[in-house]
């Protein structure tokens, strides 16, 4: 066979240039790492009670997840299971941006704030004047950052505190804006896009600090959570997910894991050589805060490269729940859900704090629906594991989680490590998308039940060897995704009992449910679908009560607020994100044996791009 005769010459040229680039990158890397040691400026934090009070006011929606407990619950009950059938759209607003719209708006007083995907415009809309634009902030970012964003240019929303709006820009700049004028108060650089460090998650304000994570798990970044003072943007603490104890802010004797101190070098000892420097553990989910315990909770993402053979060890503390002191960042406890990940099961999904009965005993619980398909109920005071059960029956990569060691019992036939490099492991459930990705679940304190948007997708996964180059993809696996055998729905919306670890009801959906849910005191649960429907279902049964097709697929989160005596439901539509990559053209398995049904399942046949906020009410 004849190959391209021009190939060898151009390859040699490329290689020559590449070698030079490699050297520059390595030099740059080592200099940066030298300066990158953790800064801890502890001390008592000036109390900022404003948000703690505001989050209790159901008329407003003051933080991305509704409250610090990440519950996405509203005590509003004007819209009920009885009248939601009469709900209708009342106004809408085009964001002027086409790409995937995750997150959702805030409502502070009479003003709604929302952000868009890149270029990350921020709007303040006047609810007293039909959503008239009070101000618009347009950051100026180098569009080159678009190319190093993993899965679309999403932005999961802004945060509010102290008269300021905080924006995580794609280019890893954190900006504080005057909430009244939109003028920049301060900005700080939180990462380097040239190394693949970007920001997608919403900042979270805790007391006098604003916390931001870093994205870039597919680029071999060293993931971290960083706290800045809300007053002036000065660095307060920085806690890496992987690395030496002084960088991950661990106290070897006091930081606990399942009841035991972690000991010295708990991360370093689980990596070969200096692989931790590209070790991933990016932080891009939803952060919770318990004011009584003064702890913040969040998860870390996948370890660097999806090829497990290339990074022996447990790769701590990737795929981990962190409970950190809000003032100092020092870890109180940690729990690694997927040691030595072999499937890209990031641990970043939201931590929902709920005081519930678990097996008959009242517990300050943390409930987490992990990408790996297990729903974990932990004691959030100390990180003890109480329940770990599958929340999608299709999950097969592990049979169960050992209650003593907390480790999953990995099934050899689905282990991409056991198969080794260049071996295609087939039929793993869930797919790398997880049984659920970041789209946050909701919890009703009234029913004690969790309402969860889920994926129902499996995969073949073949790891292969890759080399690290700063700012370039560091993936090292190919994968094909398809519905579980014999099934055609790619998602379910479920109700979950976190005490028993059981599904109470499950509504099948054509596509993965990629939108954040909202539970309300009106006994209604809301969620959005990839084909663009806003749906309202009965909290007790899951029965559909209302649906409306918005202009584009929904990957945003539903929220609710009161204005002028009316309860409103608001949601961003605008298809995209990882779901937009994987499903636009349908899944691989769809075309094998399913024929026309497979083609029918192309998301692109249902919906097109376009960011629009839709607001609903009942007369």
């Amino acid at each position: 066979m004849i190959r391209n005769v021009c190939g060898p010459k151009s390859r040699m040229d490329q290689r020559g240039i590449n070698v030079a680039r490699f050297r520059t990158s390595l030099l740059g890397c080592s200099i940066l790492l030298g300066l990158g040691s953790a800064v801890v400026l502890g001390g008592p934090a000036a109390a900022n009670d404003e948000l703690t009070k505001l989050q209790g006011d159901a008329n407003q929606w003051v933080m991305p997840a509704g409250n610090y407990a990440n519950q996405r619950y509203s005590a509003l009950d004007k819209i009920t299971a009885d009248n939601v059938g009469k709900m209708h759209p009342v106004w809408s607003f085009s964001t002027g941006v086409l790409r995937g719209h995750e997150g959702g708006p805030l409502v502070i007083g009479n003003v709604m704030y929302l952000s868009t995907p890149f270029p990350n415009n921020v709007f303040a809309l006047d609810l007293n004047d039909n959503g008239k634009i009070l101000w618009k902030y347009e950051p100026h970012q180098d569009p080159a950052v678009i190319a190093v964003m993993c899965c679309d240019t999403v932005n999961r929303g802004v945060s509010y505190a102290d008269g300021k709006i905080f924006l995580s820009q794609a280019d890893a700049t954190l900006v504080a804006l005057d909430a009244k004028t939109g003028k920049e108060v301060w900005s700080v650089k939180n990462g380097d896009p040239a190394k693949g460090e970007t920001m997608t998650s919403a900042p979270v304000v805790v007391k006098d600090k604003v916390l931001v994570g870093i994205s870039g798990g597919e680029f071999g970044v060293q993931g971290r959570m960083t706290a800045y003072n809300i007053k002036d943007g000065k660095l307060a603490w920085k806690a890496y997910s992987v690395g030496p104890d002084d960088q991950i802010l661990f106290d070897p004797q006091k930081t606990m894991s399942l009841g035991h101190p972690v000991g010295a070098n708990s991360s370093l000892s689980t990596w070969q050589g200096e692989q931790w420097k590209n070790g991933g553990g990016s932080v891009w989910g939803w952060t919770a805060y318990d004011p009584a315990l003064n702890l913040v909770y969040y998860g870390s993402g996948n370890p660097g490269t999806w090829n497990p053979a290339q990074r022996p060890g447990d790769n701590k503390w990737s795929m981990t729940v962190f409970a950190r002191d809000a003032d100092t960042g020092v870890a109180k406890w940690v729990y690694q859900m997927t040691p030595h990940d072999e499937w890209d099961y990031d641990g970043v999904n939201e931590m929902i704090l709920a005081d519930i009965n678990v097996k008959g005993k009242p517990v300050k619980a943390l409930v987490h629906f992990d990408r790996n398909g297990f729903a974990y109920t932990l004691d959030r005071t100390n990180g003890d594991l109480l329940v770990a059960e599958k929340y999608d029956p299709a999950v097969n990569w592990a049979s169960h989680v050992d209650p003593e060691t907390g480790r999953p019992d990995v099934q050899k036939q689905y282990s991409t490590q056991a198969g080794g490099e260049d071996h295609n492991v087939k039929g793993i459930c869930p797919a790398a998308l997880g049984s659920k990705d970041q789209q946050p679940a909701s919890f009703s304190p009234k029913t004690g039940v969790f309402y969860v948007p889920t994926n129902h997708v499996c995969m073949d996964y073949e790891p292969f060897k890759v080399s690290y180059t700063a700012g370039q993809p560091f993936v090292g696996a190919t994968l094909s995704m398809f519905p579980p055998q014999g099934q055609q729905n790619l998602g379910n919306f479920i109700a979950w009992d976190a005490s028993q670890g059981k599904i109470l009801w499950s509504d099948p959906e054509t596509f993965s449910v990629w939108s954040g849910a909202l539970a309300t005191a009106g006994n209604v649960v809301f969620y959005g679908t990839l084909d663009g429907y806003l749906k309202a279902v009965d909290m007790k049964t899951g029965k559909e009560l209302y649906k409306y097709k918005t202009p584009s697929g929904i990957i945003g989160n539903i929220n609710t607020y009161m204005h002028d005596g009316h309860q409103y439901i608001a949601v961003l539509s605008g298809v995209g994100g990882w779901a937009g990559i994987g499903m636009a053209a349908g899944l691989a398995g769809d075309t094998e044996g399913l024929g026309a049904v497979g083609a029918y399942k192309q998301l692109s046949n249902y919906t097109q791009l376009g960011g629009v906020l839709s607001v609903f009410s009942v007369d």
Binding site: M1, I2, R3, N4, V5, C6, G7, K9, S10, R11, Q14, R15, I17, N18, R21, G96, L98, R99, G100, F118, P119, P143, A144, I146, A147, V148, C151, D152, E218, N424, D460, E462, F464, V466, S467, T469, Q472, P473, V475, G476, T478, L479, S480, G553, V575, G576, G580, I581, G582, A584, A585, G586, L587, A588, D590, T591, E592, L603, S604, L609
Partner: protein, 140 residues
């Protein structure tokens, strides 16, 4: 075996190597082989490199995403030279309505060193010779 490029006589090939001809010559475009659903090592490598560097925007199997075009479609119109030009130099379409950026892969070893393989794989997909999903290798 499906041969896409005509076999070039050895003399012409030798002459080509000496003069380093323009890669745009269609007969010199990279080729692929698909036989009974089994691909050659280059085409498989193209699939793999695609998965590493292209999948996260252009979607599974080159079939496009919500924001990046299907390369199965694009390669019906792009020849190898045009394909290489875009991959090596990148492409930006940033306007008030559009925010599409394809990075330059000219300095990315995983892409630049295997441009021919990636092209061959995508061409096979575009020509309808390869189905969705992971292609089969001879040693599977």
């Amino acid at each position: 075996m499906i041969r896409i490029a005509p076999v070039i006589p050895a003399m012409v090939l030798a002459g080509s190597l000496l003069t380093m001809p323009d890669c745009a010559q269609a007969q010199n475009d990279p080729v692929y082989s698909v036989q009974n659903g089994i691909v050659d090592q280059h085409t498989f490598n193209g699939y793999r490199r695609y998965g590493e560097s292209c999948h996260r925007c252009h979607g599974p199997d080159g079939s496009g995403s919500s924001y990046a075009p299907s390369l199965v479609d694009s390669l019906k119109n792009l020849n190898y030279e045009q394909f290489a030009q875009v991959v090596i130099n990148g492409r930006q379409n940033v306007t008030t309505s559009s925010n599409n950026v394809m990075p330059s892969f000219g300095l990315t070893p995983d892409v630049a060193l295997y441009l021919d393989d990636i092209y061959g794989y995508l061409k096979a997909r575009s020509d309808g010779k390869l189905e969705r999903g992971r292609p089969k290798r001879a040693d599977d």
